[in-house]
């Protein structure tokens, strides 16, 4: 069974601070996705990283895929109250075969609260 350990589980910070969320595994993934979820809604995709060592930026959010494709991080610069939410990482592995299905394994999530 593949596991994705996400840390920290909870993060409470003040507006303007920086933060990093980590997503670690002993398994290799073909790609790594990050989702953000607000209360009462389903998760929404933020980014997908595919290549080992890849770095993607989305405004104040920076996503990195580890060189060995086993881990990833999300860094937020100058956090704002609008960043509050649940952040989920999900690692993809290719099952292949007739179903052409790629299995997604989700981390436990990080609940981020940014106080004004």
């Amino acid at each position: 069974t593949q596991l994705l350990e996400q840390s920290p589980q909870f993060l409470s910070i003040q507006e303007g601070e920086n933060l990093t969320v980590y997503c670690n595994s002993s398994s290799v993934f073909s790609s790594l996705q990050w989702y953000r979820q607000e209360p009462g809604e389903g998760p929404v995709l933020l980014v997908t990283v595919v290549t080992g060592g890849e770095v993607k930026k989305l405004k104040r959010l920076t996503f990195q895929f580890g060189d060995a494709r086993k881990d990833s991080s999300l860094h937020i610069t100058a956090a704002q109250p609008g960043d509050t939410g649940l952040y989920l990482c999900a690692g993809a592995t290719w099952v292949g075969g007739g179903t052409s299905y790629g299995k997604l394994t989700f981390g436990q999530g990080t609940i981020l609260t940014v106080h004004p």
Partner: protein
């Protein structure tokens, strides 16, 4: 927003009763998924479908069954609900298989409470 509708959005039922959750999509995507979300566990896959009448088990499939008779509808059935199945259930769809960097689009969730 992707056209995904889950029903019911909220349900309270008693142990031992059958429950069916419905997911309806208007995107004509091939893949459909049922996840459950519980505190400290993230999202766990229950069942998924890769086409009409083509379904397979996920990591937490015990006590659940699914059916997909049309592209747009994916039903999740709890034959005899138990308290451990109290959870928030999310339906998701994707155009490509999830491992092929395919983005998942999620519904708004169905909160089920089993007393």
């Amino acid at each position: 927003d992707a056209g995904i509708t889950q029903s019911p959005r909220h349900k309270v039922t008693e142990t031992g009763t059958p429950v069916t959750l419905r997911c309806h999509q208007t995107e004509n995507h091939r893949y459909m998924y049922w996840y459950r979300q519980d505190p400290g566990h993230g999202l766990r896959l229950i069942h998924y479908s890769y086409g009409v009448k083509d379904t397979d088990k996920g990591e937490v499939s015990d006590g659940y069954s699914v059916s997909r008779s049309k592209t747009e509808d994916f039903l999740l059935t709890l034959e005899s609900a138990t308290s451990s199945q109290t959870s928030v259930y999310f339906c998701a769809i994707s155009e490509f298989g999830g491992g092929n960097t395919g983005e998942l689009f999620f519904g708004e969730g169905s909160r089920l409470t089993v007393l």
